[in-house]
Symmetry: C2
Subunit: 159 residues, 2 copies
């Protein structure tokens, strides 16, 4: 499980670097698909990962902070650093016995919904990769080469 989180964190950091060459107005521009802008996508990825992992840790996640307070590259990068500090120890300590532990939630209609911890972990992984696929299209729309999505050749399996 850890390897796929590490992959996402590497790719996310690569996108932060990619963003450095793009004017901020392009990063904030509303686009077709996904959750809207490039920077809001990165912010959303971080927030979703953070909120789910807090729930798995048994903590109450805060409401999604207003994006307005994070609408610059440096602030989104700092948000990522802060959240990762809380997320990484949980992911590193993950083991197979946690797969079928139950997370109980109440949805907006007041119904109790049950998830397995392993299900939520994979949901978070797929969530980020999916949104990054959207970034790659917008990158080409901007005439820029996107960050590679390859998982091989990132040194993730070097010992």
């Amino acid at each position: 499980m850890l390897k796929l989180f590490q992959y996402n964190w590497q790719v996310r950091d690569d996108w932060f670097k990619w963003c450095e060459d793009i004017p901020e107005e392009e990063l904030l521009k509303e686009r077709v698909g996904g959750v809207g802008s490039i920077l809001y996508t990165l912010f959303h990825i971080i927030d979703v990962e953070y909120s789910w992992i807090l729930e798995l840790k048994g903590e109450l996640p805060p409401e999604e902070p207003p994006f307005d307070s994070y609408a610059s590259l440096s602030k989104v990068k700092e948000f990522s650093r802060q959240c990762r500090r809380e997320v990484e120890p949980f992911v590193t300590a993950w083991n197979n016995e946690m797969e079928y532990q139950i997370l109980s939630e109440t949805d907006s209609a007041g119904n109790v919904v049950l998830f397995k911890h392993g299900e939520v972990m994979r949901h978070v992984i797929a969530h980020e990769i999916h949104h990054v696929g959207q970034l790659s299209v917008w990158s080409r729309v901007l005439g820029k080469k996107p960050v590679t999505a390859n998982l091989i050749r990132r040194g993730l399996f070097d010992k």
Copy 2:
């Protein structure tokens, strides 16, 4: 590992259903980003999964077949069915002891490249999710609601 492959196969089949409401010329139209058209993206996802898994099985994957021979929804669906028949038993039999087994390849420059089996498995998973993220943007460009990328609520962890 199996769960993420099962997720990808469910999502892929959902996209096949989504395609049924789209005129074939839109499915084949060249788009900005990714590998081009919607149908070629689905074909490419299947081919990449199939080729890597054959390699992990110690078999020589065939060259990518020419897309021209598969350029219709029904043919791509049939290609997916055929390949899954060979891929699924390998993925189902996957276990942790296979993570660091080595796959040795010769690249186009004649250099030997080594990959770990676990690295290739995760590469294949991320590859499909990434390309599906691209489909979701093109779906909105077409004015259509994309297939949900959610991994939760798909019954993947029901026993």
